[in-house]
């Protein structure tokens, strides 16, 4: 088998998504041995022997082989790290959603408070004009405006707390996993 033939097999494996060089060496030798056997015993050319070998030896989705290998050889602590990362990612997204919800509610409350403020001001001006004392309606508006302002403060605090919690969970669980994954990929590229 020529160097060109071997390279052809390796290129095929790469095109199928293989990136584990140890596994690629094994499969290249396995396919090459089968091809050599077929070329010798059946007197077929390389291309035909290669096609036959692919159909005979590799599964329908060859990359499945590398996936199976990853599952079998992934240490338990890596699986645990992955679980923590995904649960952390989910919790962070949940906190972010709740924080956005409180942000929207706080904004809504601001609109309500502004409306009550306008009503209180209008009532004030009207009362000054006609010289009447503050009635129950005015007191009601004033109390609602105060309640709204208190709600704005409470919801803004919740918005900030959940936003901070979301960022904290993301930075402690999901981000380290993503960086570690990226580091491993870059190490593989260096070996390539």
């Amino acid at each position: 088998m020529t160097e060109h033939h071997v390279q052809h097999i390796k290129d095929y494996l790469k095109s199928q998504g293989f990136s584990d060089f140890e596994l690629m060496d094994d499969l290249t030798d396995h396919l090459a041995t089968e091809i050599e056997f077929s070329m010798d015993s059946e007197k077929l050319d390389f291309e035909t022997s290669f096609e036959n070998a692919k159909q005979k030896l590799l599964p329908d989705f060859p990359y499945q082989l590398e996936r199976d290998l990853k599952i079998l050889t992934t240490p338990k602590h890596n699986i645990m790290m992955k679980k923590i990362a995904f649960i952390g990612g989910y919790l962070s997204a949940l906190c972010l959603t709740i924080s956005i919800l409180f942000g929207v509610l706080s904004h809504q409350e601001k609109t309500d408070a502004n409306s009550y403020r306008i009503l209180v001001d209008t009532q004030n001006k009207a009362n000054l004009l006609i010289g009447e004392k503050y009635d129950n309606e005015w007191k009601d508006y004033l109390s609602k405006m105060e309640d709204s302002q208190l709600n704005i403060i409470r919801k803004s605090k919740l918005f900030q707390s959940f936003l901070a919690l979301s960022a904290l969970i993301l930075s402690l669980t999901y981000l380290p996993y993503r960086f570690y994954n990226g580091y491993q990929k870059s190490q593989l590229e260096l070996v390539a």
């Binding site: 071997v6 094994d26 030798d29 590799l58 082989l65």
Partner: protein, 113 residues
Amino acid sequence: MYSRELLKGILRPIILKLLADNGKMYGYEIVQHVKASSEGKILIKEGSLYPSLHALTKEGYLQTESINVGNRLRKYYSLTEKGKAVVNPAIEEVMDFQTTLALLFGKSKTSVS
């Protein structure tokens, strides 16, 4: 030919036993050896063999030696000391399992009145 599911559990003992008997072997050789020894009844698929070989290597039961053959690398697998120590227990477990299966399936059917 036995199903892949059936062979999954006994692939490791098969690999360990073969390497204990033959010293060092490469992947293609293991497949052909098992096929010939079992009279074609056990066909190990590459999709099962290599993940198992790599997992056994990573766990320290096997070691590899790469040799250049015809413009490519051929990896020979052999047992480590740790691997040699688990060969007999692995075989005994399979044989014990075989006996248990015989107890389950080997009895003749009881008559139903």
